[in-house]
């Protein structure tokens, strides 16, 4: 019998910031190992979203790894599907599946597809074609309302992803239906494949845009775990409109030679880079 609304797995009432930071570090090490093992994948955008996931899954999120589809779970939607290595590492650490499976990433027969596929425990939607997640989140939110279910729905998007028109259609829908059970998150790492977001197609002023669309916006340093968990707490209290956490992040965060190097958007570390990356991450306090 699952009852995530009554028990918070691996969670304390108050966030243990030091512990969350430590988890984030370990997740980063898993990510670079996994990507190196796969030989391809999205390094930069996986590393930029780590604290956003850790602050959610290891503090706020109600779920039961033993029963991933139990009715009373919260919903997490990874709309920026290419960031899945980070999510896989988190789900494995929470025991949604065995950690050994991480090294099957992107290989024939794996449940860890190059972009997330529904079917792997903990994965709610198949994503990868950008811009589709927030609409699905709204659908979950409307469904929860009909079902009189107090679940919360989280949806993580990339900033480059916001070029997709569907995101703004969904922004209208979320505000129109006053979906206060929806909490969007933007991993605002300032880069997309072709280069700097502001050079490719400018998004600013991003906060004002979401506010104008009727969303409550929380602007945070996306690598400051305390700010991140505070934003999740605050978003939960907003009534009558959806929330958006606009998280300023660094692409490739945690490894000096990946940080803000857009080359690593879709390139995995080679063996040498992996060794150096792990060493750097382990030294980090």
């Amino acid at each position: 019998m699952c009852c995530p609304y009554n028990k918070r797995i691996n969670m304390a009432k108050q966030p243990d910031i030091r512990e969350l930071k430590n988890i984030a570090k370990e997740i980063r090490i898993e990510i670079v190992k996994m990507l190196s093992c796969a030989g391809s994948g999205h390094t930069g955008g996986s590393l930029s979203m780590v604290e956003l996931l850790v602050g959610l899954y290891f503090y706020k999120f109600r779920c039961d790894p033993d029963e991933p589809f139990c009715n009373t779970r919260d919903i997490f939607i990874l709309s920026k599907g290419h960031g899945c290595p980070a999510l896989y590492a988190v789900l494995a650490r929470m025991n949604f599946f065995n950690k050994d499976e991480l090294c099957t990433l992107r290989k024939i027969g794996t449940r860890l597809q190059g972009h997330p596929q529904r079917g792997l425990p903990g994965i709610e939607i198949s994503s990868g074609s950008l811009g589709q997640g927030l609409s699905i989140a709204n659908g979950f939110a409307l469904g929860a309302r009909l079902n009189k279910d107090p679940k919360r729905i989280y949806c993580l998007m990339g900033d480059g992803e916001l070029d997709e028109g569907q995101v703004w259609e969904a922004a209208l829908t979320g505000a129109h239906y006053k979906l206060d059970n929806v909490c969007g998150i933007i991993d605002n790492n300032k880069f997309q494949i072709d280069g700097r977001v502001e050079d490719v197609k400018g998004l600013e002023p991003l906060k004002a845009k979401w506010q104008a669309f009727g969303w409550e916006v929380f602007e945070v340093d996306g690598h400051n775990v305390k700010e991140v968990v505070d934003a999740y707490d605050k978003a939960e209290k907003i009534k009558g409109k959806p929330s958006m956490i606009l998280a300023h992040t660094v692409k490739g965060k945690g490894v000096s030679f990946f940080e803000n190097k857009n080359k690593y958007h879709g390139v995995a570390p080679n063996k040498e880079e992996l060794e150096k990356a792990v060493k750097e991450l382990e030294m980090e306090r």
């Binding site: 074609s129 589709q132 609409s135 699905i136 469904g143 569907q166 209208l172 829908t173």
Partner: protein, 313 residues
Amino acid sequence: MEIKMKATRDGFGEGLVELGQKRDDIVVLSADLTESTRAAWFKEKFPERFFSMGVSEQDMMGTAAGLALSGKVAFACTFGAFAAGRAWDQVRISLAYMKTNVKIAGTHGGISVGEDGPTHQANEELALMRILPNMTVIIPCDALEAKKATIASASYAGPVYLRLGRSGVPVITKEEDVFQIGKSFLLKEGSDVTIIACGVEVYEALLAHEALKKENISARVINLHTVKPIDKDAIIKAAKETGAIVTAEEHTVVGGMGSAVAEVVIQNHPVPMEFVGVKDRFGESGDPKELFKLFGLTSEDIVKAVKKVISRK
């Protein structure tokens, strides 16, 4: 005998209302074409289960997927041109890939839309939808069949595309006819040729059957209401027993129902085939009846195709 005329979208609307009465898990979404798609009939009775999505077909498909993943059976309603065309990638990923329980009602299919012209006449949806894995594609031939198809699709797992029409078409099926998804309906026996038709072309095929009878040509008529999964057995049987096939559809002949039939025929029992349908072109404005003549979709066109295919036997 007077034939009752009724649009398949009306049958859909009635089916939705009946579903709404029977089942609490039915929800309906509409992209600003609520009256035109007949989703309004559901909205009137069950406003709390109706969601107005505005002119946002892509968002509608995603929202419908989310509702479906919450345990609902979601009907997403708009014109076929926008459902299958505008929102194709959303249908591909959020519906087909994930096998979400979303039923798409694509109304205003084909040139029978008439005066609104090519942007609103969907002649490509059967092709666009049938190439997607996990997708089921249904095109009812009359309002009664549309009602049955709507109700059947709600209990059928996974995404379903319902191709519906704007204009009144003859009601040719009977209350007692069994509608089963994936199982074609044999309307007329025949031994010289088989006419496989779908949608409004089923009626034209029946007229062709009568005209051909006068010329001592025995034409079998099959209503292939489900384009996918396709009824292979009936098609192979027809190829073997009649030796020639004509397909008739109010849709482009490129990749549509005729193509789907040809894929079965050529791999199992090749026989000469002719395609009646829209010939790789866009539609245009005009009175639907005149358009059917202009585009070669009348019973006379089917008769011509039958004669041609028989000459190739």
